[in-house]
Symmetry: C2
Subunit: 317 residues, 2 copies
């Protein structure tokens, strides 16, 4: 009896270019907006000693010959023992028989890459016409990936960062300078919001970081970190000021994204958002003027995992 093949991280990384990942994730977001994705609500297991979370996203794209289950764990104390906070794998199944066809032992790399791609596409979708420095709140792995993918996509070479912990900020600056970017450190978030009109939040915060009053007209904010009901990065009061609120998935963002806090507070109606995929498809505008405040709230969707996993699998054998 044959054993299921395991595709290693090295093989996965060699299978795909960044441009292909961007294309695949863009296609996934558009398919999601069109209702072509069968993806039930994600599963989430919370561990407490130490605190950690395991997210399970899964689904099937209409007509695809495979379906995908993606597991992504985040254990934020891991770096203390020299491990990456994130880990995981993707499982690809035959959609006609349910038989597993391969395991992508990506150690969370595909999740990181598709998340970075989604963030960059969301940044582009609402960016004002002139952006000089990308604002980044957070200093972790995604804070680096979001900055580099977004800068590359938009042709920007400067990043402004804010982080809570000085040593993490210092490490972040070093990594980003090694990547070839010019980095400014903001002493606090209000200062960062004064100098940046494109800001990406990528933290595990449990309380609002960007307050409504600190946001200038013409700012586009991409909120990446809020992926369960206990997390929050954006002041709920910012949402009624936004001309456009884009989401990767309406139900997920209302359930456990930043939008959810604003909806549950009664500050915006539940239908205040539009699909990021509709903007990417050119069906709806990401902003209407350079004075708009715009928000993209991303929770990460199974369709993105299915798209990148399917692409890796299609390149094998």
């Amino acid at each position: 009896m044959t054993t299921i093949p395991v595709i290693t991280l090295e093989t996965i990384q060699a299978s795909l270019t960044e441009a292909e990942i961007l294309d695949a994730v863009k296609g996934a977001l558009i398919a999601q907006a069109r209702g072509e994705v069968n993806s039930p609500p994600p599963g989430m297991l919370m561990l407490s000693n130490p605190e950690g979370e395991c997210h399970i996203k899964y689904g099937h794209l209409d007509g695809s010959d495979t379906f995908v289950i993606k597991i992504a764990c985040g254990f934020f104390e891991n770096p203390k023992i020299g491990l990456s906070a994130g880990s995981g794998m993707m499982l690809v199944f035959n959609a006609k028989t349910g038989v597993p066809v391969c395991i992508l032992d990506d150690k969370g790399w595909l999740t990181n890459a598709r998340t970075a791609a989604a963030g960059a596409l969301a940044a582009q979708a609402g960016a004002p016409s002139a952006v000089t420095s990308v604002g980044i709140i957070g200093t972790g792995e995604q804070a680096e990936l979001q900055a580099t993918w977004t800068c590359k996509l938009l042709g920007i070479e400067s990043v402004t960062v804010y982080g809570r912990t000085a040593s993490h900020v210092k490490d972040y600056v070093e990594r980003m300078e090694q990547n070839g970017y010019s980095v400014t450190v903001a002493p606090d978030i209000p200062t960062l919001m004064k100098s940046c009109n494109l800001v990406i939040t990528t933290t595990p915060s449990n309380a609002a970081l960007i307050m409504a009053d600190d946001v200038q007209p013409g700012t586009h904010i991409v909120a990446m970190g809020t992926d369960n009901p206990g997390k929050q990065e954006l002041d709920a009061a910012l949402f009624p000021r936004a001309a456009v609120i884009m989401v990767d998935d309406h139900n997920q963002c209302v359930h456990h994204g930043d939008l959810g806090h604003a909806v549950r507070s009664g500050l915006v109606p539940e239908d205040a958002d539009i699909a990021l995929g509709a903007v990417l498809a050119g069906v709806k505008p990401g902003r209407t003027s350079d004075d708009d405040i715009t928000i993209a709230d991303l929770t990460g969707i199974a369709a993105e995992d299915m798209a990148v996993a399917g692409l890796v699998w299609s390149r094998q054998g």
Copy 2:
């Protein structure tokens, strides 16, 4: 970078005896009854061309150093192309870091085995004092496993089977006779219910198979097949006649077990059931007299998967 180890079916099968699986599953059901299991509602992906379903069960037992995600697929048209209807795998993770530690490439064998063990334990928990032949409704893989595990546990050598499709019944009789059992074929379910006081249903039925009026006093029924809201094996009207209703998990059985149909019909209150684990622990009786009608409604719980996967993992290296 190391690749995640895959433990093959042969190694898995060589790691465990049936007695150990029964012990592990009994422990899991008792832990579930005591509230010691952190297992969110299972995920389910429904495929339609052809029809198939993928169940994702996952959780963590208090104090365990691992957590487990189990994937089990059922594609009932697979036998037409020479494949087993069931397939799947289990994934074991470090509960302190979220890092995957191994993949159990069990092809669904552990799910089949833990399901058979749970059914046999549920049969024993409510069986009347004298059982001469175990009644089985269904002719698939679980119909064989439920019969053999239950007969072994209770010391019974005779099975009475009913199946819809004559050729499947014929195959079933041959397989069970090869296993050393004496098999009687019932022409219909009412006839089977007249001659059997311990009956196990293990079908993918979408409508009640056992009608309330056909059940004699003193019968214990173990309902294994109903594992999503669209399935049903027992007439909801049977539930108010039962002296004891045991469940593997209250929430799952109300949500998508046979009990759920009875609760939603208003025929029994939502608290009409007790935990099978409480019966197995000796805390509650499975029946109070040989005239009781008793029901065990099983949906399959993550704790069972965690128990058998943890046992296999503990035997490695």
